[in-house]
């Protein structure tokens, strides 16, 4: 009996380690390839490690793409998307959960409708609006479709619903008006959910490819994802350089992830699941 559970455990570990290798290998391969020369990367049989850790390809890719700009644009995109999602969704989520007002049911139906429609259905008109405003090729254009977040409203409404009524009533009796009750008492209680929404919004804004490609065609207004797409378009055989570029593009988010693992996993899974 004991033996079988012990060997069962060994199998579980073996499978988990095998899975981990499959998950990590592409990243290691990216890392090693980025230090190889082009002929070295094409050698058959392939060598795992580069013959030396030369930073040449990193220098090359930094010349090909204005990476500092791309980082900065991506940071701005993520920053404004997160601010808008958190601010507007918190207000609306609170109102939908705690306040009585006419039209509430109908307005919330609009929120649910937006959530169930794939975002691509809005793309062409959204692009035309940006173009008409003369805002193509700006940071504003990148942020535009994410100015409000129906998902954020839905998600934070759930959070506010779980806060007991008594807390709001106590604040109200203490002389707070609705805004003060929300801002000073209720909003500070939603920290975990706001963190989750922040991470969720940031990861998806960071990875999005189609919208930045559509609204911005000037490389100095690109995000990291769109920059990578251009890089690949420029050169299809210099894989060490492409790997160096991908690694540079991935790095900031991966570092943040490794620091805040638990918040990331719970944030992304917690928001998506239910």
């Amino acid at each position: 009996m004991k033996r079988s559970s012990k060997s069962g455990k060994a199998i579980v570990y073996a499978l988990l380690i095998l899975g981990s290798v499959i998950m990590i290998f592409p990243f290691l391969w990216m890392f090693f390839t980025s230090f190889k020369t082009v002929p070295e990367s094409m050698s058959i049989p392939a060598t795992i490690l580069p013959s030396a850790f030369r930073p040449d390809k990193y220098k090359e890719v930094l010349e090909k793409l204005p990476f500092l700009r791309l980082y900065w644009n991506t940071i701005l995109l993520v920053f404004f998307r997160v601010i808008c999602a958190v601010a507007f969704s918190s207000m609306a989520g609170y109102a939908f959960a705690k306040l009585k007002f006419r039209g509430k049911g109908l307005l919330f139906t609009i929120v649910l409708m937006q959530m169930s429609l794939p975002s691509q259905i809005f793309l062409i008109p959204q692009y035309q609006m940006v173009a008409k405003l003369g805002m193509a090729n700006t940071i504003f254009a990148l942020v535009f479709p994410g100015l409000v977040s129906a998902f954020g409203v839905f998600f934070l409404r759930q959070t506010y619903l779980s806060i007991p009524e008594e807390i709001g009533e106590a604040a109200y009796l203490d002389g707070c008006n609705q805004w003060q009750t929300f801002y000073k008492v209720m909003f500070p209680l939603t920290g975990t959910s706001v963190a989750a929404l922040t991470i969720f919004t940031a990861v998806f804004a960071y990875g999005d490819l189609m919208w930045p490609q559509i609204v911005n065609n000037d490389v100095t207004k690109f995000t990291l994802s769109a920059g990578l797409a251009t890089l690949r378009g420029m050169n299809t055989t210099d894989f060490p350089m492409l790997m160096a570029g991908s690694l540079l593009a991935m790095l900031p988010m991966v570092i943040l992830y490794l620091i805040f693992q638990r918040q990331f996993v719970e944030g992304i899974a917690g928001t998506g699941g239910k």
Partner: protein, 296 residues
Amino acid sequence: MKTRKLSAAARREENWGWIMVAPTIIGLFVLNIWPFIQTIYTSFCEHLGFGHYRFIGIQNYTDMFSNTEFWKATWNTVWFCVLTVPVGMILALFVAMLLNTKVKFKGGFRTIFFLPLVCAPAAVAMVWQWIFNGEYGILNQILGTNIQWITNPSTAVLAVAIVSVWSSVGYDAVLLLAGLQNIPKTLYEANSIDGAGKIRQFFTITVPMISPSLFSVLIMRLMASMKVYDLIYMMSDETNPAMADMQSLMYLFYRSSFVAGDRGYGSAIVIWTVSLILLVTLVQFWGQKKWVTYDI
């Protein structure tokens, strides 16, 4: 009878309610509702350039339905779903069950499986394109094969599907793991006294107990797979001979609307895709009655 008159406090509450939802509702009108109506309208129009349109009735739809490239893209999208959804879910459930045993470094394993989620799909697709490379790719060398994974019409969608499953398995596993952890241990204990085998336990306890989580993962995965775009964009290009055999509906939408500039036709494609997604989702919601149990 309710009286229409509100007290001063109730009126103030109502005003605050409207003020606080105003940014969201105005935003949704400008960014979503109006664009939604416009997309439906432009799908019946010809794009004359610079945002000018001319009404042409159902011309875009008849063009679309008589276009082989369009049907190929529809088929590719459906085939992509068939390849990714069932395999992805089974693998995710498997990983979740492994993580649900008493192992050390559980958090570490979870972190590793979840890693692709925080990486931009563009970067992920880039390294996989290199791994799949027909001439110098490491995968062919490991397997001892000589397959042109991405440029061969019969393997192109499969290659993208592998990357998609690899990217999402950790995320789905974390969702399912939450479901597994909610199953009371006593259920298994009571059941094992009855002498039920592990495999029967899996089908009589585990699957029914996590069927709500399985269902939400299924819906999410289906919707995401129907909309696949960035992996295909990054792993292929216009010069790829297998392009027609791997492009998805969303890729065709992007090319028609923003590369060819035919926004009326592009709108028709996106309306078609969204209708397909809604149809598939409705079928799933109807089918869930047969296997999802909410009331244990």
